[in-house]
Amino acid sequence: MDRVLRIVVAKPGLDGHDRGAKVVARALRDAGHEVIYTGLRRTPKQIVDAVRDEDARFLGLSSLSGAHGHLFPTICALLREEGLGDVVVFGGGIIPDDDHADLHAAGVRAIFGPGTPTGDINAFVLDAADREEAGVGAAGGWVWQGA
C-alpha cells in the first residue's frame, strides 16, 4: 500500500469504553495509514480542532452512549463551518438502524456496527479517498454502499 492517509479516530461524549475505537485505529494502522487517536470524552470542538491541526482526511467517530444523534451532526456542522468540508466522516459503535438515515443526512458517509470486519472499514476508506462527493461538505448525500 503506497497511499498513506491521515485519519483521526475520536470518541465524543461521555462514554468511557474505547475498545472498538482502538480496534478500528489499529486496523487502519495495519492497513498502512497514519492514525491519530484523541482519547476519551472529547468535545465536538476539540475533535474538529484536532482534525484541522493534524490535517486529517478522515474522521472516525465512535459512540456507545446513545448521544450520537446529537454529537455526530454537531461535529459535521462544525467541520463545515471551519472550512473542512473535504474531510470524510464515518461512525461506529452502538447506532440503531433507525438512526442511520439522519446521520447520513448530516454527512456521516458510513456507519459500522459491532461485528463489522475491519476489512470493510479499510475498503471504505480507500473508496472514499478518491470521491469528491464523500467530503462532509459535499452535497448529494453520498453514502458508502459496501465493498
Binding site: V4, R29, A31, G32, V35, I36, Y37, R52, G83, L84
Partner: protein, 296 residues
C-alpha cells in the same frame, strides 16, 4: 485549499489560519513543498527536543511546558514523533491523549500540536523534521518542541535537529551504566528526572550525575521534577527559558546531522535497493557498492 501554492498557504498561515498551516506542513512532510519556497531571511526561532525512554512522563511534562509558555503569551508548537510500523508503514499516533493544555480555550490559539510518523524511509524523518521546524518558525511559531521516544538511532537524529536537547528520565531505570551507553546522554543539554514523588528518583539522579561527571568538560545539569506534584517544575521551566548549550554538544549534534545527510544520500539513491540485493547475493562487495552509490 488542497493544491494551493506553498507561498499562498504560507501567507494564510502567517495571517493566522491553522488550516493553512496544517496543510503547508503536510506539503513539506510529503515533499511537495520546501521552506525554501517561502523563506524570509531574519525570521528566527528556537527549538527544543524533549526525549527519553517510554513511560518516563515526557508528554505530561510537555503539557506543563505548553501551559506555562502559552500562558505567558508565547506561541508554542509541538511536533510529536512516533514510530511507523515497519510491517505496514502505518502508525498509531497517540500523543494527544495526554495533552490537556490545547483544550483550554484561552490557550488554544497559542498551542499547535502535530503528530509525525517516522515513516518507512530511513534517515528521511530528521531531515523533514528540520524543514517542519523551519516552516513553523516562518509561520510565526517562534518556539517549537520536538517530542521523540529516546530509543534508537533515528530518535537521536530527530533530537539532533533541535537547538537544545532535554533528556527526561524516570526513577528506577536500571543502573546508570545503561544510561551511559545511550547516545542521547552525550547530547543532552539538560537532564530532568521525572516522578520525583516516587522512590528511586533521587537515587537515579545521583547515578546519572555520577556517570556524567566522568565526562570531559561541563556535564549537563540533572534536576529532579514531578509532573504530578509539580515539585521542581517552575525551576526547571525557568532553566529551559535560557538553557546554555553544553560544551561539545553542538559538535555531537553536527555529527548526527551529517551522518543523517549521508544516510539519506545513500538510501535515496535510485539503485539503493538493487545494490542491497547485490551485496546480499555476493555479487558485489560493500566497497564496490559504495563506489556506485557515492559517485552516482
Amino acid at each position: 485549499m488542497r493544491g494551493a501554492t506553498p507561498a499562498s498557504l504560507h501567507a494564510e498561515a502567517v495571517a493566522g489560519s491553522r488550516r493553512a498551516l496544517a496543510r503547508l506542513l503536510s506539503d513539506v512532510e510529503d515533499g511537495r513543498a520546501s521552506p525554501m519556497d517561502f523563506d524570509t531571511p531574519g525570521v528566527a526561532g528556537r527549538s527544543l527536543a524533549i526525549t527519553g525512554p517510554p513511560g518516563v512522563g515526557k508528554s505530561c511534562l510537555i503539557d506543563h511546558m505548553l501551559r506555562a509558555w502559552a500562558g505567558e503569551g508565547r506561541r508554542t508548537a509541538l511536533l510529536a514523533v512516533d514510530p511507523s510500523s515497519s510491517l505496514s508503514g502505518g502508525a498509531l499516533l497517540g500523543d494527544r491523549i495526554r495533552l490537556t493544555s490545547p483544550d483550554e480555550p484561552d490557550l488554544a490559539d497559542r498551542i499547535y500540536v502535530r503528530s509525525i510518523a517516522t515513516r518507512r524511509a530511513t534517515g528521511s524523518v530528521p531531515t523533514v523534521l528540520g524543514d517542519l521546524v523551519r516552516t513553523l518558525h516562518l509561520c510565526g511559531w517562534e518556539q517549537v518542541l520536538i517530542e521523540t521516544v529516546g530509543a534508537g538511532q533515528s530518535e537521536v537524529r530527530c533530537a539532533a535537529v533541535a537547538d537544545r536537547i532535554v533528556l527526561i528520565e524516570g526513577p528506577a531505570r536500571g543502573d546508570a551504566v545503561q544510561a551511559e551507553k545511550a547516545g542521547l546522554l552525550e547530547l543532552a543539554d539538560l537532564v530532568l528526572v521525572n516522578k520525583s514523588d516516587l522512590d528511586g528518583a533521587s537515587r537515579h539522579a545521583a547515578e546519572l550525575r555520577d556517570a556524567l561527571s566522568l565526562d570531559a568538560g561541563r556535564p549537563p545539569e540533572v534536576r529532579l521534577v514531578s509532573a504530578k506534584t509539580k515539585e521542581g517544575l517552575e525551576e526547571a521551566l525557568a532553566l529551559l527559558n535560557d538553557l546554555p548549550e553544553r560544551p561539545g554538544s553542538s559538535r555531537a549534534r553536527a555529527r548526527e546531522r551529517l551522518a543523517n545527510a549521508v544516510e539519506r544520500h545513500l538510501t535515496g539513491h535510485d539503485d539503493y535497493e538493487s545494490m542491497l540485493a547485490d551485496i546480499a547475493s555476493g555479487r558485489r562487495s560493500v566497497e564496490e557498492v559504495m563506489e556506485v552509490l557515492w559517485r552516482g
